[in-house]
């Protein structure tokens, strides 16, 4: 009965209850997102042994900061944002990949690419290809491709997670797709 009730409630409604002091409900959110965040960690932190251990840290941060969640926004974007920050910090700590402080893609305006134009990248076949060559893709393209292809977030949601303009998401996905093609053809 309780399980059915939980199924009916949205993430945002549950988060509101956690904010009101009903801590047990946080467990429902963890259950809903554990697999997704683990997958995100595995793909984003490709080749990092402790990627899955960081998931625990993500949920801990989400719990500590739950009062900062604004229920008018999507809980998933908020949680992925925490995960993104956590993973970026881990990459910085390990120093194995180069993180650019400034990205020209976010500086200038770009025409917003239609999402339907890159539907093919979402196909199972391309997802499999991407899975095989993840380690060879530059971090800034890898993160948008993982969020788009594996986590199935749309441009707007990805923009919210990464705090970048929607048009930049489109540009990175387009370039990432070209990169996959060239790497695959090699």
């Amino acid at each position: 009965m309780m399980g059915e009730l939980a199924q009916e409630r949205t993430d945002e409604e549950i988060a509101l209850q956690v904010q009101a002091g009903d801590m047990e409900n946080f467990g429902i959110l963890v259950k809903r997102y554990e697999v997704k965040i683990k997958r995100y960690a595995r793909k984003f932190l490709f080749g990092y042994e402790d990627a899955e251990d960081m998931v625990q840290e993500v949920f801990l941060k989400a719990y500590i900061n739950i009062q900062s969640f604004n229920a008018s926004q999507k809980f998933s974007s908020w949680l992925y944002r925490i995960a993104h920050n956590e993973f970026i910090n881990a990459i910085k700590k390990k120093g194995r990949e180069r993180l650019s402080l400034f990205d020209l893609d976010t500086l200038f305006p770009h025409p917003v690419a239609k999402e339907s134009l890159i539907d093919d990248i979402n196909s199972r076949e391309l997802r499999e290809i991407l899975d095989r060559i993840l380690g060879k893709i530059d971090l800034k393209y890898r993160e948008v491709l993982v969020l788009y292809c594996f986590e199935e977030l749309n441009y707007r949601e990805i923009a919210e997670v990464l705090h970048i303009p929607i048009a930049t998401v489109g540009v990175r996905i387009k370039r990432g797709r070209e990169l996959i093609k060239s790497l695959y053809e090699q």
Binding site: M23, Y63, N65, Q67, T106, F108, A167
Partner: protein
């Protein structure tokens, strides 16, 4: 779990910091604009290559660099908000620059800075007093001489500056200025003793909000004659 008040306080502090930095940037940029206008620096480029050189050396670069730094900090603070990070950096930076310049332009058109300058001159302005006395005051551009015309001769005229010093200005025929006695002029040229060979002469139109400032630079205006 961190309490809600913690996040409210954090957001409030960011907004407060942005507001304080915005006000300081407005003050600084409008002050730079005021100092450039009041010291006659803005008109220097019309005196040709040498005038442009004098313009470059007279501009308060330190204040301009500080203003640019404040705009950079503002941009970083605004990046916390979705209305900024959802847009390209170019748009938000341009937005910040336009808003700050527009605000500064409006402030510069008021008597805000001349009043503060006046207070600074009378030692009634703490903290910013030295700034006004330094940049806004008597740091006039090199080779620029202000004064009131007291006598007009064949190929020269005489001006009197704020120190009651008479300066004889020689000019070439092609520079023959359209001036009359009691006009306020700015002469650009090297000074030797009490004479200046003019490379450029312009009549200064004292804008309403620069009058208190000009009183410090120029001799008192002659009483209006009955017509």
């Amino acid at each position: 779990m961190k309490p809600k008040a913690y996040f409210i306080l954090k957001a409030t502090l960011i907004v407060l910091a942005a507001a304080i930095i915005s006000l300081f940037a407005l003050f600084l940029i409008s002050f730079v604009s005021f100092a450039l206008r009041a010291n006659g620096i803005l008109v220097l480029p019309i005196f040709g290559f040498r005038g442009f050189g004098a313009f470059l050396t007279s501009v308060p670069w330190l204040l301009i660099i500080l203003s640019a730094f404040l705009i950079f900090i503002l941009e970083i603070l605004f990046r916390h908000f979705s209305f900024t990070y959802r847009r390209p950096i170019l748009y938000s930076v341009m937005g910040v620059i336009i808003l700050v310049l527009l605000g500064s332009f409006i402030i510069d058109r008021t008597s805000f800075h001349p009043n503060l300058f006046d207070r600074a001159q009378h030692g009634r302005l703490p903290i910013f007093g030295p700034v006004y006395r330094g940049f806004g005051g008597l740091q006039r551009p090199a080779n620029a001489h202000f004064g009131t015309v007291t006598e007009i001769l064949e190929q020269s005229f005489i001006i009197k500056n704020r120190n009651e010093e008479a300066i004889k200005v020689f000019f070439q025929e092609d520079l023959t200025p359209d001036i009359k006695i009691d006009d306020t002029v700015m002469v650009f040229g090297e000074k030797e003793g009490d004479t200046v060979i003019a490379e450029g002469i312009i009549k200064v139109n004292i804008q309403e909000n620069l009058k208190p400032f000009r009183q410090e630079l120029l001799p008192p205006m002659p009483p209006e004659r009955n017509r």
